[in-house]
Symmetry: C2
Subunit: 306 residues, 2 copies
Amino acid sequence: MRKYSIGVDLGGTNLRAAAISPAAEVLERITGATNLDAGREAVLEDIVNSIKALEDRLGSEGLIGVGIGVAGFIDMRRGVIVGSNNLPELEGVPILEEIEQRLGTRVFLENDANAAALGEKWAGAGKDVDDLALLTLGTGIGGGIIYQGRVMHGFVGMAGEIGHMMVVPNGNPCGCGNHGCLEKHASARAVEGMAYMIGLGEKVTARDVFELAEQGNELARRVFRRMGVALGIALATLVNLFNFPLYLLGGGVLGAWKYFAPAMMEEVERRSFTYRNTRTRIEKAVLGNEAGLYGAAYLPVQAQAS
Amino acid sequence: MRKYSIGVDLGGTNLRAAAISPAAEVLERITGATNLDAGREAVLEDIVNSIKALEDRLGSEGLIGVGIGVAGFIDMRRGVIVGSNNLPELEGVPILEEIEQRLGTRVFLENDANAAALGEKWAGAGKDVDDLALLTLGTGIGGGIIYQGRVMHGFVGMAGEIGHMMVVPNGNPCGCGNHGCLEKHASARAVEGMAYMIGLGEKVTARDVFELAEQGNELARRVFRRMGVALGIALATLVNLFNFPLYLLGGGVLGAWKYFAPAMMEEVERRSFTYRNTRTRIEKAVLGNEAGLYGAAYLPVQAQAS
């Protein structure tokens, strides 16, 4: 009998599930669309069916448990999605209870950015450390903090909002009410906004800005340098606060590393005496958009081990 | 036989020690000067003699252990003061080993700001929580982070440098290499610098600025408001990162609370959605400059309990 854990990554667009061994090998996987238009009931059914399909393939005896990573704020004590930009239909749903009842087994719920950080710790770039922070550079900037091998939640599960650290006091306004949030100065959308402002075009995507930088466009390169400075400011504060050995960057904008990383590293070096005086590493995450799947699957493995 | 623990607070000016019961009652105390001019050997002897004097009074059978809070960066793994502005004579001294050998008992070493945070958790304003951050507003700004009841150290013991969070990107220069550090915009010295710049006098102390504010001086009140804004910016980021239930402010400038707190609270409220959506408390610490003594004394108590 082969032991395995099931991880589910529930995003606004895709629903993915994988059966993963305790040694972090993917054994089976399922990918589908998140059927939000069909309503919450349909989404819950899709989740449950994905899990059951994997169980059918591998046999239910070996199942260690199920973990689900969800894009949104989760009240960890109640297992409820409190708020989610990507999954508004699931707000207020006691998702943990609903799925546990349908499956008849214990389920672990986690915010997707936290799950990604945990995935990198288990099976990715953070295997050799117990403490790390992951910044996921996408449309926004997600954050996950791993301390002593576990996700740091805070008292209602909202810790790790690295994307909402202030990096420019009178900077761009953010939906959270703050202004100058990191994600308004260093996410894909921030890159696009800066590119538009500097005159690179109206519907220019972060990918386009990258292509322009590749072609030697100095304006595009400046946009990425500003992004790097914003990341460096945030990282310097993180290094000074946490003194962790490792900070990881992941997400879609990671491909532009060579254009933003030099300015980022220079800023951290200059701003953090802890960085200058310790062997602190700032590196690329390696699991890409699989990180959340790994982290979700690791939740029951970790719970069993403790 | 009465059980007790000994806490030592070694600052640049004072050496204090207290015997404290497991119920956090001070049983005996000793206060003296830190005799830095006499050299490191004399300081080590003073520490050891203070501890022995308390042991003589209470009997050595009841001694649970000894904890020492020190103003400076400590390499926790080696028990060495790596750097200290206030105690440069002790840099590089294997203080833990030296004192353990002379006493013949196990000793716990901790940074003074961390010890103060732990003291507030044990016996002060944080008794009812497991997670808190303490900002000590003095000449500089010290920080201590308590997570799950314990000091958060980071991998070389330098975590919790809240005073070196950036709050103004192109702000006042800091000795750490950064500029715009919280402690350059919200400490006693920052208050004095701002008061000087705004024309309140050349040798005006933070205490003087407070007195002027009390007399209705609008410039003095503006200085404290700016201090409050800087604190609020930092607190908003802390709340977004940690989602702790409690953040405490202590230190000498706390007396000016009514002049800086309104601007501080307004800034946090505006900048942090987590603050607006949770029951996060920002409050005064209650142990004053005793906090570090309590925290140091709690270290062996905590170690015994775990």
